[in-house]
Symmetry: D2
Subunit: 347 residues, 4 copies
Amino acid sequence: MTAKLKTAVLGATGYSGLELARLLGRHSRTDAPLLLRRSAETDESAVSFFSGNGNGHSPLQPFSWFALEQRGVELLFLATPHAVSRELVPEAMARGLRIVDLSGAWRLKQEQHRAVYGFKDSNAQTAAELTERAVYGLPELKPNADRIPSATLVANPGCYATSIILALAPMLAADIVDCDRGIISDSKSGVSGAGKEPTARTHFVSVADNFSAYSVFGHRHTGEILEQLALNNSQFIFTPHLLPIPRGILSTIYVYLNREMTADEIQGCFQDFYQGKRWVRIFPASTLPEIQFSVHTNYCDLGFCLARDGRRLVVVSCLDNLLKGAAGQAVQNMNLMYGWDEAEGLQ
Amino acid sequence: MTAKLKTAVLGATGYSGLELARLLGRHSRTDAPLLLRRSAETDESAVSFFSGNGNGHSPLQPFSWFALEQRGVELLFLATPHAVSRELVPEAMARGLRIVDLSGAWRLKQEQHRAVYGFKDSNAQTAAELTERAVYGLPELKPNADRIPSATLVANPGCYATSIILALAPMLAADIVDCDRGIISDSKSGVSGAGKEPTARTHFVSVADNFSAYSVFGHRHTGEILEQLALNNSQFIFTPHLLPIPRGILSTIYVYLNREMTADEIQGCFQDFYQGKRWVRIFPASTLPEIQFSVHTNYCDLGFCLARDGRRLVVVSCLDNLLKGAAGQAVQNMNLMYGWDEAEGLQ
Amino acid sequence: MTAKLKTAVLGATGYSGLELARLLGRHSRTDAPLLLRRSAETDESAVSFFSGNGNGHSPLQPFSWFALEQRGVELLFLATPHAVSRELVPEAMARGLRIVDLSGAWRLKQEQHRAVYGFKDSNAQTAAELTERAVYGLPELKPNADRIPSATLVANPGCYATSIILALAPMLAADIVDCDRGIISDSKSGVSGAGKEPTARTHFVSVADNFSAYSVFGHRHTGEILEQLALNNSQFIFTPHLLPIPRGILSTIYVYLNREMTADEIQGCFQDFYQGKRWVRIFPASTLPEIQFSVHTNYCDLGFCLARDGRRLVVVSCLDNLLKGAAGQAVQNMNLMYGWDEAEGLQ
Amino acid sequence: MTAKLKTAVLGATGYSGLELARLLGRHSRTDAPLLLRRSAETDESAVSFFSGNGNGHSPLQPFSWFALEQRGVELLFLATPHAVSRELVPEAMARGLRIVDLSGAWRLKQEQHRAVYGFKDSNAQTAAELTERAVYGLPELKPNADRIPSATLVANPGCYATSIILALAPMLAADIVDCDRGIISDSKSGVSGAGKEPTARTHFVSVADNFSAYSVFGHRHTGEILEQLALNNSQFIFTPHLLPIPRGILSTIYVYLNREMTADEIQGCFQDFYQGKRWVRIFPASTLPEIQFSVHTNYCDLGFCLARDGRRLVVVSCLDNLLKGAAGQAVQNMNLMYGWDEAEGLQ
């Protein structure tokens, strides 16, 4: 039996970090991950002991390069704010670690989109080099799939971005969309997508029995969607909304086709594109996915309805924002980086 | 002191009917309404006694024309399925009653839209005449406002339709929309909108922690929206969704403008149109309504965000589907039919 | 027409304070209340403008004695933390104001129960005098009902305490309970009872799909329950739980009777005790109240099931923690203090 | 490699049956289960295909003895109404099948408790014999643990019963409870416990924002609790409540001790009793389990608070009603019946 991979998770107190720790804890190819916290985070291991995993975690240790070395960590997962990732990755790379970063720090190639993050890099040239080397970790898209196995820095996609890109990529690749008429994604996410920090907005009484739009024309995931799909800003509108549920994303996506098509042709377009892809499920025409179907799985579910004129299309895309939208996709990327089965530890 | 209006509610066991009974019970200008049930309905008065009103209802009586006469009812509210309304209204009109019908039976003038209801009228000519006489009960729109005071048959609008028409009417009236590029309403409703009948779809376990689209390209409210806004079918997409909350609707509406505009101009367009309208609230630019703000009120709240290009607009419209979307609007229509203050009994 | 009462609410940003502002805003006997905030509170008036009241509040003003004087305030409502009430009340009384305090500052006569609050009074003697003068504002109990009309300082009861005391008082007054065998209240509250401050515990993801007990053998409301019911600590167990709903309390109360009784006798016991009481509803035997029945009303609903042995009794008590459990009861107390109808402004 | 066990699930359309099918589908020792439906059930396989399992089920087949034979089924799980189980089990036993029955049909030895089910047996003597042979499938209790490995008919316990019996058994075995003073279990369950059939009571709008008690002094699980714990009816009160969440049970249990004890002694009592038991977790003193901790696991979590007098105890017990309360425990029983690790397929 070969030795197991040694991994670490920095930021294992947030929702994505906890989910990732849980997934790695039962992955057959990895040792129990080293769970690290930044000094700003409290050790919530006492709480997490009883939160459903049954084995308990090893207590969270304060982050240090020494702790990583001592454990012999080869792969570092960052479930940290993007500014922290931006700061730590250069040294981590210099130390020979491979990295899967769940933040938005390294997802964007184009300066125009990166601006919203306001990065403050201590070494601009290194940052530029790493930006180039970073691979966008959406393995269902061809260029990424080719680069992930040998990547040292994988920028794990945003949860909304995953749901939207996977819905649009097949149609854009097949060149059947009238992009200039405008593509719209009306997306809705459960509250875990807003993070674990208690705020007036995440208070139970603010969320329950409520529903609201936010960050209209200004959400950070817009940049990665435009880049991955080679769209320009005027071709795409993205409106996120907050759902009164703990987890799950549903994106309702509106597309005008550039020619009249049949439902079978649309169906074929999706099926061909995702042929052999383990974590995308295509629904029969006019059968739409719901959030419950994919929550607690690593699937992205795709369904559509075509108007009778054969020109107007509504695509519905669902996934679990903490799995295919974060930690599950991070494990999927790890599997590809180490040549394992893409589904390992995700079933 | 003048005598109070005598009203009756048929179908006072559904959500809209119950809400209407509650509103009429405390309206200063009406007597306690006569609550009627069709034979198919059970008498739920024992339950409703304790459901929050504090006074108890008089028990529901089985419907009969005699019961209406005996009580001297002048105004009949129908909270019945559309087929029942379609059947009862001709006789009710012949008997000299005024009617506010909460169903979809008399909302549509154009046969093409009416087809989805599959009406089976015993007397086609009478049905055609009544269709002409029926007034669409959305009092914030000019032609309706003029006709409601003298109307004998008011077709109370659908809940989704109210939220969407009120959001679009000012911009269409001002001719600032590029209709041919396509208007989209991505709407979300609480579960009371799906009715009180227990089904697999309204079971708590199906709805909680879930979210789903339904009736894409096929919802019955589409017709009244198109008619009221004078749009054709290819200019408008309407996608309803089911929210895991008891009540409230939020519509996110996407509009392309036919010229570059400023937020102030948009704001002015809405404010001018709804000048003096008691039950529409316009939010400041970039401040969006949430479902919690209008639930348990008769308001329709409108807000918007304009893209930096001044051409793309997201409008958010919120209301309580049982109040401004049903029973509240029915009372508002009654107020106008009898020359009372539009807000009477709704504050 | 007589002049309206001038009132002020300090702490009108919390859930109880907002509800109180709303109730006073539509009370026919009071002017629009002066809404005050402590320096620690932000002015949330912009938010509250659109939160469902339709009139908007006058903006919250910073608290000062001068502001109260200038407005001619006669009655001051305190919706403040108990330490703040403890500090402000002596001066308010000295200035001739009447006070309804929604905090726990003045509810307890016995030092043993007061200890859990850890009051730090600047003038112990004044504090002791005010403690004596304070009237416990549960108007359905005889001694309080007699004293409230002339009270200058009304200590508005706790939400849990109201639900439990109202359920037990009739049986204890009738001396039918075997107190030494032990009385148990297993109580469940919606999240607004935990306050508006965002914490890990009130985060949507912590509360939704969850349920938990807290403060077992240690909740602060225990003292007022014991005092009002003249029970000692060993006779009563109170276990609060957090429900995943915004508002409402249900207490399931277990009582052993000291003799065999019939359901009719129990029913009679409750009905006699609450004869003429406007805000308590007694349910028929074996018909139990549910939280939905009393939410958004000022009612306390009481129902019970008697075991076939006629000795063991389960009483269920429901109310809205923000109304009969806080702001509604405060208005009820005001009504009594000024000789108005007990139901004024609460229907 | 040895051949895998051939199993069947009858009633795989209900919540417990679906969960069981899911668990068996990924169990390493069993073949994919034969999924059967009674004629009254519709084939929901189309729906279940997309409900989160990712593999799809084989379609549900109509039940017949022939279908079981043809597949060579050795172990039959019944997720059927108790009347169906009562009818089918005699023939199933005669045909040499082993059975795990999730209904209440065979849980009770004593006629007095069985009466509430109103069984109508076609052969009273066979029914009596099978009642004797049936083993109550709560493997954490000694007598059951000894008999399950060789049992042919395992009566899988009720969900509430599991949560309550596991909480009380250690203290009763240690004889530290004053039973005559009365034991109370105030239990709360998520809606999946009420079954999948759509009713007025399970409608989303009835459950959401609500909470209610039901079946007070009359719930069917009372009998099995009394039998397993050797209590008589006057010593125990059980009040079930309906929580607005999909799944999970929390029981708050009140016990008076027959002598003064320390928290350490109580803790020891639980730990000794459950020494080596894989699916019961004992929390540290004064740390209480919450529903979220055990949902989606097979654990029963136990915690307690002891009053300062050392005589009054509140025990909190949590589990997932569909796992440890139904399908998970059924798999646990299967594991023991076939000599496998108790945790197989449950992690």
